[in-house]
Point group: C2
Chain length 362, copies 2
């Protein structure tokens, strides 16, 4: 008998790197930062062929429920795991694992961040299939990304052997974000992959791992599970979830496993970490501008223009004349102009607005 | 007996150099391009101490009536000379001259463009007083501006003698916009002033000059004048004005005078010809940014930011990070980003919008 597949999309994140597009109340997974649909919608589309809406779970925060549901209109109400308070990834992944294990302990759960981008869907599908095979065999599995440059902003996953093929390999350990020198050695050495936050496992295996390595979390999740069996999950979550240990699945569980597997992935993955990345991934015109249709671009090159206004008048034109390598982002209550190369400095605007008491704009 | 003074503000102009701030339906005199009030309001304030509202005339087009009246709330309804069709400056200056001459032929009329800027109001007042004295003596008089650079975008006024003092001098002739070489010679030679489009004359003298040099115009204006005496000016203007010769007062009258006078002016005059000029004239912060209060400026220098939206939500923030020497202009239906040094290229946006059928945005 083949194991049923489930998916959990982690959609609780916030962030400041896409201000004014992203807000505390509108994090990046809810935005069409690449392509025309929100990142979370694209994430759902990548797994729906495997799981269908019945077996697609989405974990998010209370303040994002409504907007998330507006984007995933077919998501079953009961499949939205609403976290009353943010507790990092271990509690909500555990919640989903216990939930699936209650009825289908052999079910394989695919955990995916909601705000990443994948260019090569076929290669992604193959990596996912390899990870599901590995997980079905009882091995908690991740997908690691072949590094394309010595990135110091990501964690890495070390494997014992050379990275060849696309099947799951035994992983050695998670490695924290390295400095530049170590990152270069990782890329050079050919035994490190980027940790992209994807986890694939049988429900029973994650439940066992949490029981073994996070007994306090297991206890809380069991209480929620019992309440759920009695039809009282919501109240239990409201009461218990905020008391669960706030820790990542990496540190809480993965670091303590005797063995786990990693599937090397090479499918044009990006965490869409900045406007710079959004521009790189976007469809561009001959002058390398990524801009909404109708934008007037005269002698303008390599610019990223985003119009995310909702209360827009019927017609409005954005005109860029003689400018290069700029990011221009509009929302209903903000306009940002920044050189693409300084996309990272956007978080300073958020800090400045908070400092002057304009917290509601961030 | 001292001559009464009247003023005529020419406010029919359109233009494309301030798009999207300016439009066919919202030319630059109606905008607060320098300071916090519209250029036309500032122009009115400069002459009101001399003329009061009773003797302040404003010439404008039908499509600008309403907005002009909104800015000059105390303007007497009968003092707005509404041109049914644009016929350049000679017909409307003539209309005002005939109108004043009917009741006060010795009245001195000051004609001023509506969309210029003056920094030194005291020096301007002195030049105006000198021009009024000259005009009261029967000499049609202009005010010419001491050139600060060899501008090829303006016409010049040549005088016989060296330009010293601030009293009216005999003028030799108007000179069309020169090429660079001639403009340099003009600045070098010390006998040329910029033509700033200001004319000061007794009503009777202009009426006589028009009769002598533009008999067809005189005939039309006399017909309007007779109708006005009979209380039927509006209908006559509607019928006759569009048939009047479309020509500037420079070519139609001034070029044909045996003699006229010019008062050399040095009062920080500007025709506010581009966003570059608007930035130069604006109040700026320590980093030379001219921007509305509340703009977030991080490591941003020498930028001009204009927020001319009317349908604005309550709060909106504009953030510029790490950019220099940019112009950022927002209106309800357009956003422009252009380097300050390329302000002149804004007219290409207008051309591009017209070419693609977006004429209502220009």
């Amino acid at each position: 008998m083949q194991n049923k597949i489930y998916a959990l999309i982690l959609a609780g994140g916030a962030g400041t790197r896409f201000w004014p597009a992203s807000r505390a109340s509108l994090p990046k997974q809810l935005l069409p930062l690449v392509g025309s649909s929100a990142l979370i919608s694209q994430t759902a589309e990548r797994v729906l062929p495997l799981v269908g809406w019945e077996r697609l779970l989405v974990a998010t925060g209370k303040h994002l429920m409504e907007q998330t549901a507006e984007l995933l209109t077919e998501l079953l109400a009961g499949n939205m795991l609403v976290e009353p308070a943010p507790r990092n990834t271990a509690p909500c992944i555990g919640w989903a694992a216990f939930r699936v294990a209650r009825t289908d302990p052999d079910g394989v759960l695919i955990v995916l961040p909601s705000d990443h981008h994948v260019q090569d869907l076929e290669a992604f599908g193959e990596a996912l299939a390899a990870a599901v095979r590995s997980a079905a065999g009882g091995m908690i599995t991740t997908i690691g990304i072949h590094p394309t440059h010595p990135e110091t902003g990501y964690g890495y996953i070390e494997v014992a052997e050379d990275l060849t093929g696309i099947e799951a390999l035994p992983a050695l350990r998670f490695v924290e974000k390295p400095d530049r020198e170590r990152a270069e050695a990782f890329v050079e050495g050919g035994r490190h992959l980027w940790n992209a936050g994807m986890f694939i496992f049988r429900a029973r295996d994650m439940v066992a791992a949490i029981r073994a390595h996070m007994p306090a979390l297991a206890e809380g999740l069991e209480a929620i599970d019992r309440a759920a069996a009695a039809g009282e999950e919501d109240a239990a979550v409201e009461r218990i979830f905020p008391t669960l240990p706030s820790i990542s699945i990496d540190h809480g569980v993965m670091d303590h496993l005797e063995q786990f597997a990693v599937v090397p992935g090479d499918f044009g993955w990006s965490d869409v970490g900045s406007f710079q990345t959004a521009w790189e991934l976007a469809d561009k015109d001959m002058a390398a501008n990524a801009a909404p249709q109708g934008t007037v671009l005269l002698d303008a090159r390599r610019n990223l223009v985003m119009d995310l206004r909702k209360k827009a008048p019927e017609r409005r034109v954005i005109a860029l004349v003689g400018v290069e390598d700029l990011v221009v982002v509009e929302t209903d209550d903000a306009l940002l102009v920044v050189p693409r190369a300084r996309s990272q400095d956007v978080k300073e605007v958020v800090a400045a607005l908070k400092a002057r008491g304009d917290g509601k704009l961030v």
